[in-house]
């Protein structure tokens, strides 16, 4: 079974600082997704990474994918309070029953003014 692990699980950082969230997965896949979830809300799609070496950037967030290392990173630049949320990575893998989507453990980010 595919395992998807994120670290850290909890992150508290000051505004203006940089940090990276890591997502490791245990088997071959070349499709990785990042989502944001605000408290009590559904998931908002941030990035879709479809190939080795893919890099996507949106505002203060940048995501990358290394399929050989089975690693994706979500880098936060000059954090602002509005980025406080829980971030999930998810890996898409084809199984006998069809596509299956495995979520990471989530990283709860709090940005302190």
């Amino acid at each position: 079974e595919l395992k998807v692990e994120q670290n850290p699980l909890f992150l508290s950082m000051q505004e203006g600082k940089n940090y990276t969230i890591y997502c490791n997965y245990s088997t071959t896949s070349d499709r990785l997704y990042w989502y944001r979830q605000d408290p009590g809300k559904s998931l908002e799609s941030l990035f879709v990474l479809l190939s080795n070496g893919a890099v996507k950037q949106e505002g203060r967030l940048m995501a990358s994918l290394d399929t050989k290392a089975r690693l994706s990173t979500l880098h936060i630049t000059a954090a602002v309070h509005d980025l406080s949320a829980t971030y999930f990575c998810a890996v898409d893998m084809y199984a006998n029953t069809g596509n299956q989507f495995y979520f990471g453990t989530g990283t709860s980010l709090t940005v302190i003014p």
Partner: protein, 115 residues
């Protein structure tokens, strides 16, 4: 991306009762997915619902507890049966997004509290 309407958005239910959650998609999709998110946890796949066939349940989830209907390509329901406080969670439906790059789109979620 596909737009998904999910309802109810939240409910408080008595133990022993059942709740049916509805998920409506604005386009036809082959597969629909139901997830559970327990408080402070990640998402766990309950089952995959294909139109015209029985849902495929993940380990730890059974049809008697979580019956699913998929009457057509745009609609599905998940019922949480004989509820207990342990069923208090957010339940989300999802479809594979209809975009150039794919990806999954999620409904707004149903926050269920069982008392």
């Amino acid at each position: 991306s596909a737009v998904i309407s999910q309802k109810p958005s939240r409910d408080i239910c008595q133990r022993g009762t059942s709740l049916t959650i509805q998920c409506q998609v604005d386009s036809q999709v082959t597969m629909m997915f139901w997830y559970r998110q327990q408080p402070g946890q990640s998402l766990t796949l309950i089952a995959t619902a294909n139109q015209g066939s029985e849902a495929t349940y993940e380990s730890g989830f059974v049809i008697d507890k979580f019956p699913i209907s998929r009457p057509n390509l745009t609609f599905s329901t998940l019922t949480v049966s004989n509820m207990s406080p342990e069923d208090s969670s957010i339940y989300l439906c999802s479809v594979i997004g209809i975009t150039v790059v794919g990806g999954y789109t999620f409904g707004s979620g149903t926050r269920l509290t069982v008392v």
